[in-house]
């Protein structure tokens, strides 16, 4: 019985990982620059944190519900799922980028400016390296939560391991539920471990 599910588990796990990977990469591409811009301007900081926080407070199933009827960006399928996952992953990344940069020792920043570094040099040669660990911690939180949230993607045709879980629920088949849930949990643990290792490598 489980053996017949194996090829499907494998392909859905891959799909799940791809979905999460793309969503997190997009969230990094948007969230880190937004966070860095936010540290340079109080207004941008308020707006960025408020917006990212607002998305986080909407329950995930409700957010999918909002997105599906939206023209252009909505509809049933992967694109809608991806948008929702990116919106969720943004908050921890933006917040940790802002916190990481803000917690760099002011004496170090001041001496960097006083030595004649340009704002760009201070940011990329001093602040970002010193905040790297905190930023990476935000990416780790975003990745782990996205792996969980992505299971709900199946509800709107996004695929991934949620397919097995939802099918298992409707068929009252615990085996199928677990066939989706266990690989999802394993993915989260592996991602968490890998990113934690990367964080420690960077920190010394």
């Amino acid at each position: 019985m489980i053996r017949s599910l194996l090829p499907e588990i494998a392909s859905l796990t891959l799909e799940h990982a791809m979905l999460v990977g793309i969503a997190v990469l997009l969230a990094i591409a948007i969230g880190v620059p937004a966070g860095l811009a936010a540290t340079r301007n109080r207004r941008v900081r308020q707006v960025a944190l408020a917006a990212a926080g607002a998305f986080q407070t909407i329950p995930s199933l409700a957010l999918f519900g909002f997105l599906v009827p939206m023209p252009y960006i909505g509809g049933i399928g992967k694109r809608t799922v991806l948008i929702a996952l990116v919106l969720y992953a943004l908050l921890p990344i933006v917040r940790n980028t802002v916190t990481g940069i803000a917690s760099v020792d002011p004496a170090v920043k001041e001496s960097a400016v006083a030595m004649g570094m340009t704002d760009r040099q201070v940011l990329f040669q001093v602040e970002v390296p010193l905040a790297a660990r905190t930023i990476l911690a935000g990416i780790r939180i975003a990745t782990v939560t996205t792996i969980g949230t992505a299971t709900i993607a199946a509800a709107i045709g996004g695929g991934g391991l949620g397919v097995l879980i939802f099918r298992g629920i409707s068929m009252v088949d615990s085996m199928q539920i677990l066939a989706g849930a266990i690989p999802a949990a394993a993915l989260a643990l592996i991602a968490d471990g890998l990113l934690a290792w990367l964080e420690n490598t960077l920190s010394h």
Binding site: D105, A107, V108, E110, S111, A112, V113, A114, M115, G116, M117, T118, Q121, V126, P129, L130
Partner: protein, 253 residues
Amino acid sequence: MLPAVEFRDVCYEIDGRPILRNLNLAVTPGETLVLLGRSGSGKTTALRMVNALLYPTTGEVLVNGVATTAQDPVQLRRRIGYVIQEGGLFPHRDVASNIGLVPRLQNWPPGKIDERVRELLDAIGLPAADYLHRSPRNLSGGQRQRIGVARALAADASVLLFDEPFGALDPITRLELQNLFLSLRDRLHKSALFVTHDVAEALVIGTRIALLDAGRLAWIGPARDFRRADTPQAREFLACIRILETDDSKPAA
């Protein structure tokens, strides 16, 4: 001779509250002018105007004859050495990279930077072989301040600024650093502005002393004349060292 640094009628206000009031000062080339004053007297504010971290509300600050407002702040700062209390070293870079910072910003060839860094480590009494690749995190406060001094000297700045650089050190380490400062001063003939609230340090370090009180210049003159200064603010400061000297004489009596 053109002053290295000159304050002309400098006033500085924060939200209408005066921090500096009509400050007029000139640092002659090669001298160490100590800005002495209590906390809040405006001495650090004055110092930060020299490397354009702040600009005067009215009046002007001239560095080598040119107003700071007429200079590119980034280029100006690369020509001015700056040492602050906590050192402000980059914790993610090794000692060599910290000392070589400004030469690197000025695009010196790597070989020349390396040579300069070794020369400076030698000058501050830390052997290059042992210290070149150490992290500032693993150094003592005194060693970090030595590196801070070396970093300020690296690009051969003509003007050096010191903001209570030895204030957080224990008295013995402070004395060692003061002696290092004096030996470098006599050898390099740099113009320096040195901020401190410690009269004893001002007397040892300064060629001249400028006493600031509530943003005003309360006394200025050669360091050796400061003991005879008779403004009320100077007398308050002198009272601090008289206590020390009386204590010293007790065992002898």
